[in-house]
């Protein structure tokens, strides 16, 4: 069992690939907002990379372990302590039954991961342990975890390798001040509804800085920035599309879709609504979604235009990084 002493801010059980196959009934895929960090945490803890683990948001949890094993901390930067000793991120940490891990609030990034050897053995709901907090799905039956709860653990091996992630394989979770630099631009493809914007607005989107709103969560990232102008298509449409230029006949939303709500771009992420009536001129491909998961409020984001081929290449590159090849051994211990 894993005991939740302090739950932090909406700390949840997440798993990959998430809750797949129920979106037409309104259930989003959920899963970790930064799958890159999540998978490295699992590999460090000796688990298959998609095993259920904890995701915390901005404020990390305090946890007590009730059996020996190993853990790993990745994602948003936290000053974590195991009992009274500070512990590093991005490497395997042995823990003993009775020890307490306390994570500090995130210094950079937004979402941190705690993987535990054997993984979390909460109930599968509609095929996944991933938590969809707004519907109270996953975890111990009510979405995010609460102080006092005991989370069941899966079977763990007897010995554990101590590993760390090589620097070049870690996601570059930048301090807020350096976000928006060329290396940190978020990939976005045109479509599905880019023809609803005029050409100037498409250029403006990629040339502008966008500020993340505090009204952003695992459902969507709301941004503020310059005003959009629309193509003739956004005006010359049947009345049932709606009265605003940004309204379209209700359609399915892709994860990573950047919708325009009036003048507010909202990027749908892991707990996104499945459908709605705003058009979606751009889509962030899956391999770069982790950047959105690590965006902090008031951070400035910029986007770079990507093709389908580049997005597929990015996905393959990231897939390779999320493997044992990214880890180097430090030592081996008996659990």
């Amino acid at each position: 069992m894993l005991e939740i002493i302090k739950h932090g801010l909406e700390t949840t059980v997440q798993e990959l690939p998430g809750r797949i196959g129920y979106w037409e009934q309104g259930f989003p895929p959920s899963g970790p907002a930064d799958a890159w960090s999540f998978r490295l945490a699992n590999l460090l803890a000796g688990n298959p990379r998609d095993t259920a683990a904890l995701e915390w948001q901005f404020i990390g949890p305090t946890l007590r372990f009730h059996r020996d094993g190993v853990i790993a901390l990745t994602g948003a930067e936290t000053a974590a302590r195991l009992d009274d000793k500070s512990v590093p991120m991005w490497q395997t940490i042995p823990v003993r039954a009775g020890q307490v891990l306390a994570c500090s609030p995130a210094k950079t990034g937004a979402r941190g991961y705690v993987a535990i050897s054997g993984g979390l053995a909460t109930a599968n709901v509609l095929g996944s342990r991933a938590t969809f907090h707004m519907a109270g799905l996953g975890g111990l039956g009510a979405g995010a975890l609460k102080a006092g709860q005991q989370v069941p653990l899966g079977e763990s091996g007897a010995t554990h390798k101590l590993m760390r992630v090589v620097d070049s394989a870690r996601p570059p979770i930048a301090p807020a001040a350096s976000a928006g630099t060329i290396d940190n631009r978020i990939a976005a493809m045109l479509g599905p509804n880019d023809t609803w914007l005029d050409d100037d607005s498409i250029m403006m989107f990629f040339d502008s800085e966008w500020t993340v709103s505090t009204q952003s969560n695992r459902t969507g990232l709301r941004m503020s920035g310059p005003q959009f102008t629309f193509s003739a298509q956004a005006y010359a449409k049947p009345a049932e599309h709606g009265s605003e230029p940004s309204n379209i006949l209700d359609h399915g939303y892709p994860v990573g879709g950047i919708s325009i709500a009036g003048q507010t771009p909202i990027i749908f992420i892991h707990d996104s609504p499945s459908a709605g009536g705003f058009f979606v001129p751009f889509t962030v491909p899956r391999f770069d979604l982790w950047r959105l998961g690590q965006a902090r409020p008031h951070e400035k984001l910029r986007f770079r235009r990507t093709s389908m081929a580049q997005a597929n290449e990015g996905r393959r590159r990231l897939d390779k990084l999320c493997s044992l090849q990214s880890l180097i051994e430090i030592d081996t211990v008996d659990a």
């Binding site: 901005f58 807020a176 409020p297």
Partner: protein
């Protein structure tokens, strides 16, 4: 009297009153105890209460109402007894 900084644990938007147009949780110069709510920080579409953390006189707010804060920002200063 020693002065203690009240820091924000999280990034977000700091609000000194519970809702627009309502009086602030605490006025400068007012006495607070450790569990007095001195403001709200909006993050992830939620309002997270900020507690004074110590007892004393809240001498000054360092962040204006509805202003952006990052984690570790000093929100207010309390002169402890």
């Amino acid at each position: 009297m020693p002065a203690v900084d009240v820091k924000s644990p999280i990034p977000g938007t700091f609000y000194r009153s519970p809702a627009p147009g309502e009086p602030p949780f605490v006025a400068e110069g007012e006495r607070v105890s450790a569990d007095t709510v001195i403001g709200n920080i909006e993050l992830m579409k939620q309002f997270n209460e900020v507690f004074a953390g110590v007892g004393g006189i809240l001498t000054a707010f360092m962040i204006a109402d509805a202003e952006a804060v990052d984690s570790d920002a000093v929100l207010a200063i309390i002169s402890t007894d």
